[in-house]
């Protein structure tokens, strides 16, 4: 590909974001709109006997109050299992379940009306622990689920792990628990909707998945899919939390009963916390065995994930965890079992990393424990076992694509912050302990084999000689739109400003999957390249012919114009546009990511074939008087292929580290008996800028030959390294391991106290 430098430069959406001119889904106030809001059950498990809406309906300014009886379709949503009610009709399964929907003239009236709705219910026994939920006699969350509370179980076996442990010289065992992390995006769930004269329901919403949403909305509300249009403006953050239905069906249900008036819904922070999905909490049993020389020989894991009340993508997240539990190491004998259970807790769902941050935390701490038992340098141990291209991973699948894991580890081995760590540790001030920890990881890109990972892009030469690019994949803040425009500009030899980019709209008919799975730039970027190449050829051919040449090499494309090489004459692109048929001025590009269908037999939905890699180093200082952990230095080495744009690249790395440090040190959405205890940003603690260290981002630029400009996915890989790097650094500093994250001040102090007691 040419003109790689054209991909560099600031984000094209930077100015509109910092000046506040960008319009997010919450920024629309259509004429004569009604506010819509849901009444939440606030009880974790109950049979719903009655919903009393009379008092609310009698309130002046209330337009209507809807219950499940007003929903014409299946009243169910769900990507894999279609069982989550839009409005509860029989059973409440968690506190955030909606039981009624109010349409009101103002936000204040809406709020007052919601307070006036009451329900009659018969409490049902509850279950709040995933492992307990799988035992006989546990209260059942879904009576019709065949396996009790077991949503999905997945297992992998390679070699003979039982026998292999007997042949190991060192075996590390550990039980690790991770927290229920909340996305806490700046923009809470929001949108607006209306039904037009032709009966088309248009929903503008903050969503990562407009095309999949359209199907779900249509079936849940009983509207033909052709009568549903979903538009996804720029999102103010999502991180996986908007990969699916949030406000969409409620908005649609409201708009279908609003007499043609637009309706607007905007969850406040408490509702976003209550009803939004969370990272699945895990309990993970790890056992890793190695030979005396450090060679990993056997791995066995049992993983329990708490899905909460509904399936969502929890089973797929757990499966991804199973696929990544052995990280990027050569291990001949492996058994990994994953279980995902229903409980009456908040619904689990996608969150940057999709199950991998949990298992990586377990695996990388087990790796450090093996290193300790063998008295080996933990980074050398990782180097010794690191997968290379051509090796077979824990699923026994050969890695045929770019594999820069070893290079990532190599960068750290040579890094001064690693090499001089002992001197730094030894100079810890009074009451402080210093430690240096490693966390390595891999992360699959795109969808597994059974789910086609494909995209269609459309690029149009407008009559005025500028271009319009139709995106099929939402931009939730990661900057993919800007990258798409820069790719098109680079290929068409145009200034990036000449490319207008439209955010996804199902009317554009470019189903391209969700903005997720570290796939947005890889998959859609490839489709943009194809569209741009075809369009460029169309333009050059037209220009050549109109100038009397057959060979398109007789002309060249320049910003805003074409130059005829022989005569030196310039033709404005607006003139060329007038010469091309409307149909040919608009070109499509299609791409489907590589997939290996032979892996369908190995794992539910099949395996992935392309991975990104990373190796992290965290230097921490532990205050033994208060338990406070300061992350002092952080180095993230990443193999996400070639870097297209350093600014966007480093933003992904830094954002992931910030969120990863939050996951490691403080973020824990507490639920007691199914009710939220950290219901707002005053109690749910995320890191601030002063809680974060300077972050060093090093790119190991392997070339992924199938990727646009040699890149591969970056959005998720980085977050998985933070918790294990910090947990391992804590062990390095204090000689004791905290197996339950986050590593709060209280847990630190209590671990230090227990260590003292042992002495």
């Amino acid at each position: 590909m040419r003109k790689k430098s054209a991909l560099d430069g600031p984000r094209l959406d930077a100015l509109s974001k910092v000046t506040g001119s960008e319009r997010y889904s919450a920024d629309y106030y259509p004429e004569k709109f009604l506010w819509a809001g849901a009444k939440r059950a606030m009880i974790p498990h109950a049979r719903l006997l009655a919903v009393h809406t009379d008092a609310a309906e009698a309130l002046p300014g209330v337009f209507r109050v809807l219950t499940f009886r007003d929903v014409a379709g299946s009243n169910r949503v769900g990507i894999v299992r279609n069982h989550q009610p839009v409005l509860v009709d029989a059973i409440v399964r968690y506190a955030g379940d909606p039981v009624a929907l109010v349409l009101a003239e103002s936000k204040e009236i809406l709020s007052a009306a919601l307070d006036l709705i009451t329900v009659d219910h018969e409490p049902l026994p509850c279950i709040f622990d995933a492992e307990e939920a799988l035992k006989d006699g546990a209260p059942r969350v879904h009576e019709d689920n065949d396996g009790g509370n077991l949503m999905r179980a997945v297992s992998l076996c390679k070699g003979d792990p039982d026998a292999a442990f007997g042949a190991c010289d060192a075996v590390a065992e550990g039980v690790f628990e991770t927290s229920r992390q909340e996305h806490a995006y700046l923009e809470t769930e929001a949108g607006w909707a209306r039904v037009d004269d032709r009966g088309v329901l248009t929903i503008v919403a903050s969503t990562q998945s407009p095309y999949r949403d359209r199907r779900e909305i249509a079936s849940a509300l009983g509207v033909g899919e052709e009568k549903v249009r979903v538009i996804a403006p720029y999102l103010g953050g999502a991180f996986g939390g908007k990969d699916g239905i949030t406000v969409q069906c409620l908005l649609g249900a409201a708009a279908l009963c609003s007499g043609g008036r637009p309706v607007k819904m905007w969850w406040d922070r408490r509702e976003s916390f209550l009803a939004g999905v969370k990272r699945l909490p895990s309990r993970m049993y790890f056992r890793l065995g190695a030979k005396r020389d450090g060679t990993f020989h056997a791995l066995s894991c049992r993983l329990y994930f708490d899905a909460g009340a509904y399936a969502g993508l929890a089973g797929e997240i757990m499966t991804m965890a199973v696929e990544h539990a052995g990280s990027a190491y050569r291990i001949p004998n492996v058994r990994i079992e994953g279980y995902c259970a229903y409980t009456n807790n908040p619904v689990g769902g996608p969150f940057r990393g999709f199950g991998v941050p949990q298992v990586t935390a377990g695996m990388e701490q087990a790796v450090d424990t093996v290193a300790e038992k063998l008295s080996m340098d933990p980074l050398e141990l990782r180097r010794h076992n690191a997968l290379r291209q051509g090796d077979r991973n824990c699923l026994d699948i050969e890695l045929t694509h770019s594999t820069g894991f070893l290079e990532c580890i190599g960068e750290l081995l040579e890094h001064p912050l690693w090499k001089d760590r002992q001197a730094w540790k030894a100079s810890a001030p009074k009451w402080k302990r210093r430690g240096c920890g490693i966390g390595c990881m891999s992360h699959a890109m795109g969808y597994p084999a059974a789910v086609p990972d494909q995209a269609t892009a459309r690029l149009k030469l407008k009559k005025d000689g500028t271009f319009r690019l139709y995106s099929g994949v939402s931009d939730m803040g990661q900057g993919n739109s800007s990258t798409y425009a820069r790719i098109a500009a680079a290929i068409l030899d145009q200034d990036a400003a000449a490319i207008e980019l439209l955010q996804p709209d199902t009317n554009h008919d470019l189903p391209s999957g969700s903005s997720s799975a570290s796939r947005t730039t890889y998959t859609f970027g490839n489709a943009v390249i194809e569209a741009a190449v075809v369009l460029k050829e169309t333009i050059l051919r037209c220009a050549a012919r109109s100038s009397g040449y057959d060979d398109i090499d007789a002309v060249e494309l320049l910003p805003g114009r074409v130059r005829v090489k022989e005569s030196g004459r310039f033709i404005p692109l607006s003139d060329i546009a007038g010469l091309i048929d409307d149909a040919d001025r608009s070109q499509k590009g299609y791409f489907r990511a590589p997939h290996d269908d032979s892996t369908l037999a190995v794992l539910y939905l099949g395996a992935h074939v392309i991975f990104s890699y990373g190796a992290h180093l965290a230097r921490i200082e532990v205050d033994i008087l208060t338990g406070k952990i300061d992350v002092v230095d952080y180095v993230a080495v990443t193999d996400a292929g070639k870097v297209m744009n350093r600014c966007v690249y480093d933003q992904q790395v830094q954002g992931s580290i910030a969120q990863g440090i939050g996951f490691a040190l403080m973020e824990d959405y507490l639920v007691r008996e199914g009710r939220q205890e950290t219901g707002d940003l005053a109690t749910y603690i995320v890191p601030t800028s002063v809680d974060l260290p300077d972050m060093i981002s090093i790119a190991v630029e392997t070339e992924e030959k199938t990727g646009p400009y040699g890149m591969k996915g970056l959005g998720e890989v980085v977050i998985s390294g933070c918790l294990p790097a910090i947990a391992n650094a804590f062990h390095d500093a204090c000689g004791v391991r905290i197996t339950r994250s986050p590593l709060t001040r209280e847990r630190v102090l209590s671990a230090l106290g227990e260590r003292e007691d042992e002495r």
Binding site: K628, M666, T678, I685, L749
Partner: protein
Amino acid sequence: MGRVYLPATLETVFEILSREPSARLFAGGTDLLVRSSAVRRNEGSLVCLERVEGLSGISESDGAVRIGACTTHGELMAGGLITERFPILREAVRHIGAPAVRNMGTIGGNICTASPAGDSLPALYVLDAEVELHSAKGQRRMPLGRFISGPGLTALEPGEVLAAVWIDKDQGFNFHHFEKVGQRKAMAISVASMAFAAHLDGAGSVVRARCALGSVAPKVFTSQALDAFFAGKPLNEETLGAAAALVREGVSPISDVRASEEYRRTVAGNLLMRLEGARAAVR
């Protein structure tokens, strides 16, 4: 929802309060508006004191400094007088919220909220601050320690307004230390905090000390026995270990979503250990 008043004089404030005794006073609103966003509409009127004459600014008289109740934390930090005379107060205020919060929140608000976690309070206790209260009937002064009687409870009478804080200029301390423990480094509600000021002699022994701890009791924890215990002793591990034990016995923390009672009790004592080896500041 009630009305929001923006009076310019204390007289107008008194008038409003006599008409609407349930009206609530606020200045920066950093506590009130966050806490009551969900219930605010059901409450009465609000009276904003921000523009009331005579409630802002720092002034100096012969023996004391008067800090207007509506002086923001940001203004306190910027004021040279505070930095020079009461460095411990500046240090404590620096730990409140983040710059935007400090530019809105006021010292009067921090006092009247009377939260056990109020960040400025332990320092004000150590400095023996007094409050100046105004009402239609006149004005009165009382020590801060008497003004706050429990979580959210003050000696403010109906119709009364906190107008200012007074601190004696000459505190006679040559060492101070403030530390706050929260769940993160900024925008954090204190889980435990300690303000300590002392007059140390040339050898580092305590001539006189005052110690106050926040977030570990219904109100700021102080103890005359503790202050007296330090007298004549050097701040070494032995002294501080014994003082820490006194603190752990004396405090009565709660468990909540931020920290357990045990953690708060342990840390309250631990914070004293940070004083080890303290030396007088050279002026």
